[in-house]
């Protein structure tokens, strides 16, 4: 299966802009399904970006982050071709990891 993580990381001189979209239901635990049963909470709790052995961004998320979450940030100190490692863990113990080259 394809990765749950889509990343675009583009270098613009000293600054690298990162956009990520992650496929995840981000269920709040407040919603019922068509049979009237509560869909248990299922959401990403932590999302990490590492570059050159250093954390460059850490997101702690609750259930109010939209389904298929999106985040955008920028950091300094990387260059084109460097690898960005992205990983997430959710409240049910699920996780995924991917790497992307900075373009």
């Amino acid at each position: 299966m394809a990765s749950s993580i889509r990343v675009r990381a583009t270098s613009n001189g000293d600054i690298t802009e990162v956009q990520a979209l992650i496929q995840h239901p981000m269920d709040t635990g407040l919603v019922k399904d068509s049979k009237g049963e509560v869909i248990p909470a299922h959401f990403i709790q932590q999302l990490k970006f590492e570059c050159n052995g250093k954390d460059v961004f850490i997101a702690d998320w609750g259930t109010a982050v939209s389904k298929d979450p999106y985040v955008k940030f920028s950091f300094k100190g990387a260059k084109k071709g460097d690898e960005l490692k992205i990983s997430w863990t959710d409240n049910k113990g699920g996780s995924d990891t991917t790497t992307a080259k900075i373009a």
Partner: protein
């Protein structure tokens, strides 16, 4: 107002105009004339919204409201249909059990052809939509058909639309009375009021685009199918043209037809034909 009346009267007024020009082609007021209809349809929207660029109508409600347009542009930085698009691309390239692929079923290997659908199949004597053609392709290759409304079907059409982005809609109506009848039938379906709320498709999407119905901004009918399939935030997911028709009917408390019923195929034919010349913008993102 004048333009609206003109549009609502449809072919009658078209015939009247032709009459005043003493055209020799005028035979009866109910003659089916898609070329004139399409022109009147487009002019209605162009005159009603003089500030909207013609090619922008395919962006639906976002062409009508600045605040929403900004939210949309932010969404488009990493659009929510991205996953469906990737899935569709992969599915499209994956062979069936018999070794053939979707590409074998379509002209040009299925790439860059969205703007030619739906088309009138002179052998069958009916309109064939892209969604129908995809399921027929599956069945011809021994695969079970997909649901018409979402998931796989939306992913496949998302990919096919994506490869056709920017190409002008190019629907042909052959010189065949059955094709003209299908167009006319689709037009009739579009303008007929139905359901508990007594709305036609046109009540919202011709008379009131850009206005709010409850919280939402109505999309213009012109070019509405050019953006299909769409990721709707309201659905938290993708939906096809079939899904759009079904929900439109149920929201006005009418009884929806089965996806790919003849009437839906015909209304897709009508709506696509009158959007000829406007670019394919699918897959789209909508509120």
């Amino acid at each position: 107002m004048k333009a609206r009346i003109h549009l609502l009267l449809g072919s009658l007024s078209a015939a009247l105009i032709a009459f005043t020009l003493t055209s020799p082609r005028v035979i009866a007021a109910d003659k089916v004339d898609p070329v004139t209809d399409a022109k009147a349809f487009q002019n209605f929207f162009f005159q009603k919204f003089p500030n909207v660029k013609h090619e922008d109508f395919v962006n639906g409600p976002y062409s009508m409201n600045e605040d929403m347009k900004r939210q949309w542009q932010e969404k488009e930085e990493f659009p929510p249909y991205e996953f469906a698009l990737d899935a569709g691309k992969e599915m499209f390239a994956t062979p069936f059990k018999n070794g053939k692929t979707y590409a074998d079923c379509f002209p040009n290997g299925g790439i860059g052809i969205r703007q030619n659908y739906p088309y009138f199949d002179t052998k069958e004597g009916k309109v064939v939509t892209l969604e129908l053609a995809l399921n027929r392709c599956r069945e011809a290759n021994g695969e079970a058909p997909y649901s018409y409304v979402k998931d796989e079907m939306a992913s496949l059409t998302a990919y096919m639309a994506y490869t056709s982005r920017g190409k002008p809609m190019d629907i042909k109506i052959p010189d065949d009375p059955r094709a003209l009848a299908a167009f006319e039938n689709g037009k009739r379906y579009f303008y007929t009021r139905r359901g508990q709320m007594n709305f036609s498709c046109a009540s919202c999407h011709v008379q009131s685009p850009g206005e709010r119905i409850r919280a939402e901004i109505l999309a213009p009918a012109l070019g509405i199918l050019n953006a299909m399939p769409i990721y709707r935030s309201e659905w938290s997911g993708m939906g096809t043209t079939s899904r759009r028709f079904v929900t439109c009917n149920s929201q006005t408390r009418a009884v929806p037809l089965e996806p790919q019923a003849d009437e839906y195929r015909d209304v897709e034919y009508f709506l696509s034909y009158v959007a000829n010349g406007l670019p394919i913008s699918g897959p789209g993102a909508r509120p």
